[in-house]
Symmetry: C2
Subunit: 370 residues, 2 copies
């Protein structure tokens, strides 16, 4: 017996035609450790947009009810050659109610419960999920639990990663984002130093009102000296950046190095011995990352993704992190949404042109049941 | 009692005036573990040029015997603010004869011996060196031993570092350089895979004549597919680059990722799980490094310097590496020079404009005793 329901699919053809549409799908009965979740809420995260909209031209797309066809420009079309012709589901995470389960005890124990899950197919009326990755939400609503994986585990992951690497402070280049505010709350709770970079005065105020001690505004004329003072105060030689393109990482490395050089007693042509570490964990800017030769050789820049981090961290750490999220879902790990849309509502011109901008504090929540 | 002799100094003033000159110096008696070496030969390595000439304009400099005054353009002048006004010696390494020693047994044992050393002041008739870093050369000439530290230990360091990180192959972006040829010989001896990138057919031939199995020419139209084939053959997801500026690192990451993606059975929006690692160990190109968002998040780029690597590797590893260099000084670790110049000869227009280009196979040797 299969269940049928509406589901979102995104298909990129080799000629650059991107079709995103809602279609009827059949969901097989869950087996083994799987559960079938009737999806009630799923956020649109920046990590979803990579596959959902990418760099396609939605200004000049063809919109019809439950369907949009847009052109993917080069080099982004060729860059995604590996997905050409594939009809892909989307939606990393969400929450809903378990309506069927596989045979495993872990799966059966979830029957009828409201859970948060990470199916990768969350923009759908139903989704098959791994019981081991489901978080029973108890009395929390689906809306409250919809974003309990990606942002909370990423923000916690930064702090775990920093601690593993012996750091006592973190720099975050998008301080006022949903994730950034969460990171600020975690760092305050854990006594981890945090330097927040924001772009606007109201974002600085928002973070300071939430107890942030170090907030620097990249729009200020004296941004670099503000940043250096904050790094000097906290020893934040270790940072996370979701922008990717442009010069933000370069600026952070420069500021870190200038702080370190300021403490040296002797000139070295190779720069300071201070190790400087930055991670790019997103691509708000699809442009190239530019690194100038102005901070010696003691620096490392990496891509950062949640899944490999969790795999490396091990099950015990992951369980501890998930428990902390659940215990503090409506406080530390609460997410806010600008608006709610159903599956068809996701694909209107107004919605796409709005949420694809990934503006700070303007996250969308999808409610697949309408 | 002090010893006097000629020594090279380089001074950058805050207005961008760079003065490089030969002057009389007084060398104090060595104490403790120090030795005084009468310098007979010292190479001009790319790592020396950073402080010796930098990005200054030597086309339009004022040349007089034993002295040259040039202008350092922006942003390079401001970038070296920390050295403004300081009269700095130069010359990382060289070889000569120990003519006086400190009181330590290690120092005294070197009296009268020909040694290779790493004084940082090698462009000089005399240099104070640390006995612990001296390599007694036995019957080898000073010329044969002059380059026994920087290039040999760096090339060996790459292989040690790769092994520590569980790699079975290395990619090197300047395959035909003095260091590159050395690395090729080490990798052949050690059974470590090596992908060499070169820019010219004659460089490819040179390396192949020396037994290199994977040589790809970046000037060929099908460079990227050559590179991918070589990476696929060797599993070289781990590379070293002395260029720094431009797109070479980006191209290597792209090729590595495309090889890894080609082996995936399912599309992932995040790219492959293959960890890709590159190190920038020099700055043949002072321009910015450009990284495009085209190889997912499984990549890490770091600066790489010999001294911190050796400090991390530990004394035992360093001793083993140095013994290997000494045992194979005239074979695996032999360096070739285009020409010899004395201290005054270093500062002629013809010499500077030639050696600062750091052309493959055109290294200069300085003979401070004339």
């Amino acid at each position: 017996m299969t269940t049928t329901g509406k589901q979102l699919f995104t298909t990129l053809e080799s000629d650059g035609t991107l079709t995103v549409e809602i279609a009827q799908s059949e969901f097989p009965d869950p087996t083994g450790n799987q559960v079938l979740v009737r999806m009630e809420a799923a956020p649109i995260n920046p990590s979803d947009l990579a596959i959902l909209t990418g760099a396609a031209d939605f200004e000049n797309a063809d919109y019809s009810p439950g369907k949009v066809v847009a052109k993917m420009p080069e080099p982004f079309n060729s860059g995604q050659k590996a997905r050409h012709g594939q009809r892909l589901p989307a939606g990393n995470e969400g929450a809903g109610t378990v309506v069927a389960t596989g045979d495993s005890d872990m799966a059966k124990a979830l029957m009828g419960q409201r859970v948060a899950c990470v199916p990768g197919t969350a923009y759908s009326e139903y989704a098959i999920a791994d019981a081991a990755m489901c978080l029973p939400l108890g009395d929390h609503s689906a809306e409250a639990g919809a974003s309990s994986f990606v942002n909370p585990m990423t923000a916690l992951g930064f702090v775990e990663n920093a601690r593993m690497d012996g750091q006592k402070a973190i720099l975050h280049t998008v301080g006022a984002s949903n994730l950034g505010q969460m990171l600020n709350r975690i760092c305050l709770e854990d006594g981890m130093g945090l330097v927040n970079i924001v772009r606007k005065d109201e974002q600085a105020k928002l973070l300071k009102d939430q107890g942030a001690t170090h907030v620097v505004n990249s729009s200020d004329d004296d941004f670099l000296s503000q940043l250096k003072a904050a790094i000097d105060d906290t020893d934040a030689f270790y940072g996370f950046d979701p922008i990717g393109g442009g010069k933000m990482v370069d600026t952070c490395f420069k500021a870190m190095e200038q702080v370190a050089v300021g403490k040296m007693t002797e000139y070295s042509r190779y720069g300071s011995n201070q190790q400087k570490r930055m991670f790019i964990y997103g691509r708000l800017d699809f442009g190239p990352t530019t690194l100038t030769p102005s901070y010696g050789f003691g620096w490392t820049l990496s891509g950062w993704l949640l899944t490999p981090f969790l795999q490396n961290a091990g099950m015990e750490t992951v369980m501890r992190m998930r428990k902390r999220v659940l215990d503090n879902l409506s406080t530390t790990f609460a997410s806010k949404y600008k608006t709610k849309v159903d599956l068809e509502g996701m694909l209107t011109r107004d919605a796409i042109l709005d949420y694809r901008q990934m503006k700070t504090g303007e996250k969308y929540l999808v409610t697949p049941q309408g």
